[in-house]
């Protein structure tokens, strides 16, 4: 019994300590960001690996999610004779929820895991130590540009995803199922509010991007410097990001639309 409590306590302390480390880590990385103004090349390079290399999966998933939503929404709305409102249904669910959330999950799988693995491997092969001994702070040179690129890439990716998903549902709804194009866009524009819906969606994706990149670089940097440690860091990145994004989404939705 007492042992159980002790184990629980030890566990809680370990988690609290990890959170503390993650937070200090974030502060140090943020402190390294202003200097990046002088070296935009570093960020551009990371935008390439975080953003451009994620484009394919974002584009493909966006179009397909939109098409599926178009099909499903149409058949459901048909039951109520409201199939002309397809645009509203699709746009609101994409812009408010699916866009930011699905993009963040894909981002964790595509970019986050790669970030964690890359940094973890740099650590386990002593590249980070080597950098330190060359008087180059890995926080500024390695971590900060990656973190910043993650922050920047995520809202852009989410916007691309959302827009393509709506286009996908347009192709299915208007092109295939015969929803009136005017009704599709017109009702959508009437119902979707820029500040309430679009802007809140963008804010969500900014928050998710921040959290997802933070988790990825921290897990990589904090990884045990072994093959096993790196693989565990990669897994943890995806799992923690998914949990954090879903939890935060609930909170944000409650605050924004509640």
């Amino acid at each position: 019994m007492v042992n159980g409590f002790q184990r629980l306590g030890a566990r809680a302390l370990a988690i609290a300590e990890r959170f503390g480390r993650a937070f200090l880590f974030l502060l140090r990385a943020l402190a390294g960001m202003p200097a990046l103004v002088l070296r935009p090349g570093l960020v551009v390079q990371q935008l390439y690996s975080v953003g451009v290399l994620s484009l394919v999966i974002i584009v493909v998933s966006g179009v397909f999610v939109g098409m599926v939503l178009g099909l499903q929404g149409y058949t459901t709305l048909l039951n109520f004779g409201a199939e002309q409102s397809l645009g509203v249904l699709v746009a609101l669910s994409i812009v408010r929820e699916l866009g930011p959330v699905v993009t963040a999950l894909l981002f964790a799988g595509r970019a986050g895991s790669a970030l964690a693995a890359e940094i973890g491997l740099m650590k386990s092969t002593e590249q980070l130590s080597g950098m330190e001994m060359m008087a180059v702070d890995p926080m500024n040179r390695v971590i900060a540009p990656r973190l910043l690129a993650g922050f920047l890439a995520m809202p852009l990716l989410a916007a691309i995803f959302s827009f393509l998903a709506i286009l996908g549902s347009y192709v299915i709804g208007v092109g295939l199922l015969g929803v009136d194009a005017g009704a599709f866009w017109g009702q959508m524009q009437d119902a979707v509010e820029f500040r309430e819906d679009i802007l809140n969606g963008v804010i969500k994706s900014v928050v998710f991007g921040f959290v997802a990149s933070w988790i990825a670089v921290f897990e990589g940097y904090d990884a045990e410097p072994t093959s096993e440690g790196v693989s565990r860091a990669t897994t943890r990145t995806v799992v923690y990001t998914a949990l954090a994004v879903l939890g935060l989404d609930f909170v944000l939705t409650a605050v924004m639309f509640g």
Partner: protein, 310 residues
């Protein structure tokens, strides 16, 4: 050492007056104040360090002179790499002090530490090349980070360093395309890219064929003398190291057991040092990592669990 004797005499004075002990911060302060940066590049006093349960250093006292090639030798796992990391400020001692160029390493601010490290070059045992950069970019890395030199000049400097290690032709290869020995030489070129005043080589000779080994040995010596560097070599290769080292310190059991010129160490009184220097299989040095049971007993004993690690 003068600072030791100052502290000691201060202690004696105090003992006779009031029978109290100098507390650690005070001793520390005096040691800091009196550490003479004169001809000592690195000064290690009373160094204690442990890795988990294992006590690696138990009172290491070591002075490394300016302008010399100093070798630190000792059996595998005695903590030579760890010692270099302590000197470079990547690890903090549990007790004791390390001064480099008169600066107390563990007490430096991050900025101060990085400033000091610019004058240090370190060749990592694993090479630690950046796997996403080509050989050329690896060697150019410290130059690009720390200088504003124009690209053509950087190119010349990099080619010069690569030429010195015989790998000018490999500049466009990626680290994954290098052999172990080549990677080590690229790392060496990178370590000396900024023309540091002090270079630490962790196992520079491992994995080198006899020809490049000979070139490297000469290179280290020539660099040291031509550029007025100080070099610290950690190595097992007794013959090669002895050929170029001015002074060898032998590390064993958490302490420096013997220091001296290579010649003196070959003729050492200590049976242990002689065995190490001559590489004799028989002698006081155990070849085996300490085990709980003897080999026979271990073979005869029942395994605690029949399940393997997998």
């Amino acid at each position: 050492m003068t600072d030791r004797s100052v502290i000691d005499s201060a202690q004696v004075l105090l003992d006779t007056r009031c029978r109290c002990k100098l507390n650690a911060p005070w001793t520390q302060f005096m040691a800091d104040t009196f550490a003479d940066a004169g001809d000592h590049l690195v000064d290690i006093r009373d160094l204690h360090f442990s890795r988990g349960e294992r006590l690696l250093f138990d009172g290491v006292e070591l002075s490394i002179r300016r302008g010399e090639v100093t070798a630190i030798m000792g059996p595998s796992g005695t903590g030579k790499t760890t010692l270099l990391k302590l000197i470079g400020g990547q690890l903090q001692p549990d007790r004791g002090t390390i001064h480099v160029e008169g600066q107390h390493v563990a007490g430096l601010s991050t900025r101060g530490l990085y400033k000091l490290r610019r004058r240090m070059g370190m060749l990592f045992q694993s090479g630690a090349l950046f796997t996403d950069l080509s050989v050329f970019d690896n060697v150019a890395f410290p130059l690009r980070e720390h200088t504003d030199l124009p690209e053509p000049l950087i190119r010349d400097l990099v080619l010069l360093k690569l030429q010195a290690v015989g790998l000018r032709g490999a500049r466009d290869l990626m680290p994954a395309q290098l052999s172990g020995g080549m990677a080590r030489r690229v790392a060496l070129a990178r370590a000396i890219a900024l023309d540091p005043t002090m270079v630490m080589y962790d196992e520079p000779f491992t994995g080198q064929d006899p020809i490049s080994m000979g070139v490297l040995v000469d290179l280290i010596r020539r660099l040291n003398d031509a550029l007025g560097l100080s070099s610290i070599i950690v190595s097992h290769d007794v013959a090669e190291t002895a050929r170029i080292a001015d002074r060898i310190h032998v590390l064993h059991g958490g302490r420096i057991v013997e220091s001296g010129t290579p010649g003196a160490l070959y003729e050492s009184q200590s049976e242990w040092v002689r065995q190490f220097m001559h590489g004799l299989p028989d002698g006081p040095v155990p070849f085996h990592y300490p085990a709980a049971l003897g080999f026979d007993e271990d073979l005869m004993s029942q395994p605690r669990s029949s399940r393997g690690a997998w």
